[in-house]
């Protein structure tokens, strides 16, 4: 009766893939720094008033292009831009469109990728054929080029009032070319999982296809997908700023970091380097933090690297 002497469960350390990954990541200083940076950026997006008391839309022509004071003191710690708006406020308020856009794109891409991937992998045959060929078509078009093409079609036609409307066009364009990687990971994981005994067993107990897909297969596919999410967010932020430089990203009056960067390039040569350097610094810091976090997450979730 060896089975009767099972170890006392309460004494066991609760160990799961996620808690192990969290434990592994907590020990790395680079992850801690990256997490802090990301928390500050998210806080800026959520509560810009905590970081600046100026309104970026109140601009005085006579205060245009004031260079920043030394040591970030005075009325305009980062100076003012070409129209006399406080640049620190502009920069802080530019965080929300940037982050909202990146997060909407990633949510849409992941959801679309997961659903299509799981259907392709589970049903196979013509469903897989259709989805996989669509994936091939989208994957040969680089995200930036595809987005440029799509946005050129919409250019000038969208009148934007709220934040969601200003970012809608670039978000749709980027999501359209962002779901493929998630789809491929999910499809591969589904193919691996769908013939396992416990999936067949669930089927034998009368589970429906959708229940099998979303309760039994999806939890296994989530891990590889999660690992690429942060890195992809960084990529989306970069692509958005590239679109902004081309003048087809987030539309004014909203200002993303990409828009600021694009405006800054016009003045950088004339001695106002800070108008270019600050948005660039924010962008690089954020993307770097996402990449570091994503890298660590991937390592932590991969049991082979432990």
């Amino acid at each position: 009766m060896s089975e009767l002497i099972a170890p006392s469960p309460s004494a066991e350390r609760q160990a799961s893939l996620w808690s192990d990954a969290f434990r592994a990541m907590r020990k790395r200083p680079d992850v801690i720094i990256a997490t802090l940076v990301l928390l500050i950026v998210f806080a800026m997006a959520a509560f810009p008033r905590l970081f600046t008391d100026k309104d970026p839309t109140v601009c005085l022509g006579r205060e245009a292009r004031l260079r920043p004071d030394t040591w970030f003191t005075g009325d305009h710690p980062l100076g003012t831009d070409a129209f006399g708006c406080d640049f620190a406020a502009t920069l802080v308020h530019g965080t929300r469109p940037t982050i909202t856009l990146a997060l909407s794109v990633i949510v849409v891409s992941v959801v679309v990728g997961l659903v299509l991937g799981i259907y392709a992998g589970y049903y196979g045959r013509w469903v897989d054929g259709l989805i996989s060929r669509a994936l091939d078509v989208f994957i040969v078009i680089p995200m930036l080029m595809g987005a440029v093409l799509i946005l050129s079609l919409f250019r000038g036609r969208v009148s934007a009032d709220s934040l969601m409307e200003t970012i809608a066009a670039p978000a749709i364009a980027l999501a359209l070319f962002g779901w493929m990687e998630f789809c491929r990971y999910t499809r591969a994981a589904t193919l691996e999982t769908k013939n396992l005994d416990y999936v067949v067993a669930a089927k034998c107990l009368g589970a429906s296809d959708r229940r099998i897909m979303f309760k039994h297969i999806l939890p296994n596919a989530i891990v590889p997908v999660t690992a690429v999410i942060p890195t992809t967010i960084g990529g989306i932020i970069v692509t958005e700023s590239a679109l902004a430089v081309l003048g087809i990203g987030v539309q004014p009056p909203a200002t993303s970091w990409g828009v600021l960067l694009s405006k800054g390039t016009e003045w950088a040569g004339g001695g106002y380097v800070y108008l270019f350097a600050w948005p660039l610094a924010m962008l690089i810091l954020t993307v770097f933090a996402f990449a570091t976090f994503g890298d660590a997450l991937r390592d932590a979730l991969d049991p082979k690297l432990r």
Binding site: S2, L4, P9, V200, C204, L205, G206, P219
Partner: protein, 345 residues
């Protein structure tokens, strides 16, 4: 589960309660392999009555597992195709039903226990969740009531401290305990037919006996029909009521268990029985069946067993033997069934 009064007609339209519980009639299954049709099951027939245990015995590749897959409706199509015959539950041919109806039959009327319980349980969910899920999805039970039902079931299959074990994950259970969990899951919806596909093969011998006794006990208590699929005649000897011996995709002998052990009517069964090690035969050489099971893609002509048969004559290589019954409820597919039965061969 006693409060659940089952109305068969609700989930199985056209059910005839006077018809046998489960009847497999001349079932034929082909596999398409590289454009060629390979017969895996060539006309298997057997009947399972309520409250009885049928052992389906055969070597690897004899078609016993494929038959159970066809009964469950989980045959991989392609490559597997049912090309003929019927599987009747209370007289209703399951093979003719649409997928949605078949799905409601799985778990509710027919359930299966697999060989390897570790891989047949989802490692990501606790066993309590996996058992409770059945009640919540199929019966619309509340989360709390489903948990109580799950504890009740784990208790029923003999898992000690069920109330605590419910939150545990499959890897925290031993092999025998996992198989008990599997049995609990199969029993959850109170099926009338339970198929156990080599339920003890992955377990060590002492645990094997416990699991067999558990299956037998539950079968008797619930008056279920139990199909035991196995390659081990010894395991089923004191559990089964009837035996169907399969060879090369057909049932070659069908009889009550005592009759089969005492007076087999097919040379294959006889050879199988001789190949079981016996305590009272110390010092004697263990008999084996010479040769290998035939390749289903190129079966020998006539009786497929003739190249390995001790009783074979020339006609066995050319004439397909008919189904004969040397005694009541004792059938065999052999030219010399009578003589084997009376031990003249």
């Amino acid at each position: 589960m006693s409060e659940t009064i089952r109305v068969i007609g609700d989930t199985l339209p056209g059910a005839d309660m006077n018809a046998p519980l489960l009847e497999v009639d001349d079932l034929r299954i082909d596999f398409k392999v590289r454009g060629k049709r390979v017969p895996a099951v060539r006309g298997a027939s057997f009947t399972l009555e309520q409250g009885r245990t049928l052992a389906v015995v055969g070597e690897s590749g004899s078609g016993k597992s494929v038959t159970s897959q066809a009964i469950m409706g989980i045959l991989d199509t392609p490559p597997g195709h049912v090309t003929g015959g019927a599987v009747r539950l209370h007289g209703v041919d399951l093979l003719g039903l649409d997928e949605e109806t078949r799905r409601t039959i799985r778990g509710n009327h027919i359930a299966i226990v697999f060989q390897d319980a570790l891989s047949a349980l989802n490692p990501l969910w606790s066993v309590g969740f996996q058992i409770g899920e059945l009640f919540r999805v199929h019966r619309g039970t509340s989360r709390k009531a489903a948990k109580l039902k799950a504890i009740e079931l784990l208790d029923l299959v003999g898992i000690p401290d069920a109330a605590n074990r419910i939150g545990h994950y499959p890897h925290q259970f031993s092999g025998g305990m996992r198989q008990r969990v599997m049995i609990a899951m199969a029993l959850a919806l109170d099926p009338e037919v339970l198929i156990a596909d080599e339920p003890t093969t992955a377990l060590d011998v002492t645990v094997q006996a416990q699991i067999m006794r558990l299956l037998k006990k539950i079968q008797a208590e619930r008056n279920m029909g139990l199909i035991l699929i196995t390659h081990d005649l010894g395991v089923v000897a004191d559990v089964a009521d009837d035996v169907a011996v399969m060879y090369a995709g057909e049932v070659v002998e069908r009889a009550g268990i005592r009759d089969t052990f005492k007076r087999p009517a097919h040379p294959y069964t006889k050879a199988l029985l001789r190949a079981i090690p016996r305590v009272d035969a110390i010092g004697q050489e263990l008999e084996v069946i010479r040769g290998l099971p035939p390749n289903p893609a190129s079966l020998p002509g006539g009786c497929p067993f003739h190249p390995r048969c001790f009783a074979a004559e020339d006609r066995c290589a050319t004439e397909v033997p008919p189904w004969v019954e040397p005694a009541e409820n004792h059938g065999s597919r052999c030219h010399f069934a009578e003589e084997v039965y009376t031990d003249e061969r």
